[in-house]
Symmetry: C2
Subunit: 254 residues, 2 copies
């Protein structure tokens, strides 16, 4: 059994458009999977509105609790884009024009006049922050302390996240294997609980599915030790077979 | 301008499968839209793992802060389904077999022996809770105080939520209108900020889009006063037109 420090992360999704149901979040799963690869565990996600006091209090709470914090949303040019200023207030530092950020923004406009006051706000970052590249639409994100501030638009967020992943110190990658069968959860539950008890360092999950083609359960084991993961998967196959099911590796057909 | 108490809600999504990126949440947007209809504002969402202390602490924090709390996930028969017991602990009440829940579960099995110990856990609820019907797969959710505990499987969650919506006391429905144009956010920002200042009771949002067919910005106004909403939409049309854009009502073409 491996023994290692677990590196944790929290994602803060900032935006009324998610809370109103207008926009379906697409950033959580992308970040979660990317963090798995570098051995960082996403332990909590908060979706909060564009309200300064809420942003400041939330960021200050979670940056003290988790190793890394990622935020998405609220770094554009409009009145509801207040994330950047709020991060400065959360860290009790000034919110200043970054000449480098201004240069990057200016390079994208046909005329200097296009870099108006609203857009120039996107070139302001908390004092002491370092820029996060935006190869899609130029306006950068930034990192300050253990907090990474990124755009909300998925295409931009993904480019930013891929660019900063190498800055993070994780543990062993989190591996995941899935065993599916047509057995209901209630039949599998007892044996699955015993299996979880034998693999306390693993995360053993059970997810029922209901499809037009039938129903059943996917069993997922997650952990960092590949050899033990093989053993757990073999036990899952044996469990399902002993209960009269026909196990196969992977997710159920769509 | 209408003046009314704002009724708030928090959604707690419980499940490692969301945090690992395995499962894309589909419940947030459904609940958000349903709450809009009955004039309840979804003000925060938390996604947390299947860890008892986290569930208990989170539920106790948010039920004291928001008018309504909804939880999804963790009420099945397996070892990682601990939501129900945790809610009992959060409320400091006993976790007891509900004869009515047991009757409902038993009715779905061919043989009494099928209602094994694991499945019987799904018939336990916190003392004083009332059942939430599950017309899809029988195992009920429950309400205790201002907390509504529902399944995580979207089809089941939706049926449960639709069944309890009538129990909630909201305000005026939250109405939403969208005006889209090909103008970039940075051009709209200044005028939009002034418009927000004139409609402090409204939520004015700005959402850029990037599609194969082009880019632009959707402007969204949300509020309860239909007449003032008409006026705000007219102002948005005028703003976009004055800036050289061609506004239309609705979201951009997919």
């Amino acid at each position: 059994m491996t023994s290692e420090k677990i590196v944790t992360a929290c994602l803060v999704i900032i935006g009324n458009e998610i809370l109103s149901g207008r926009t379906q979040d697409a950033n959580l799963a992308y970040i979660a999977k990317g963090l798995n690869e570098i051995g960082v565990r996403l332990r909590e996600v908060r979706v909060i509105p564009d309200i300064a006091e809420t942003i400041i209090a939330t960021v200050n709470e979670v940056r003290a609790t988790f190793d890394y914090v990622f935020t998405t949303g609220g770094i554009g040019p409009t009145h509801d884009d207040i994330t950047s200023e709020c991060i400065a207030r959360a860290f009790s530092v000034r919110w200043l024009l970054s000449e480098e950020a201004r240069r990057r923004l200016a390079a994208g406009y046909a005329s200097p006049a296009d870099l108006n006051a609203a857009r120039l706000r996107m070139a302001h970052i908390p004092e002491g922050a370092t820029l996060i590249d935006n190869p899609v639409s130029r306006a950068p994100g930034f990192q300050i302390g253990n907090v990474f501030v990124m755009a909300g638009v998925p295409r931009v967020m993904q480019a930013m996240f891929d660019g900063v992943k190498h800055r993070l110190t994780g543990g062993a990658p989190v591996l995941s294997r899935t065993v599916t069968s047509g057995l209901p959860e209630g039949v599998l539950a007892e044996g699955l609980g015993r299996l979880q008890a034998r693999y306390p360092d693993f995360d053993v999950g059970s997810y029922p599915y209901y499809r037009r083609g039938g129903f059943g359960t996917s069993l997922v084991v997650r952990g960092t030790d590949a050899a033990r993961l093989d053993a757990a998967v073999a036990e899952l196959f044996a469990l399902v077979t002993a209960l009269g099911g026909e196990p196969y590796e992977g997710e159920p057909p769509a």
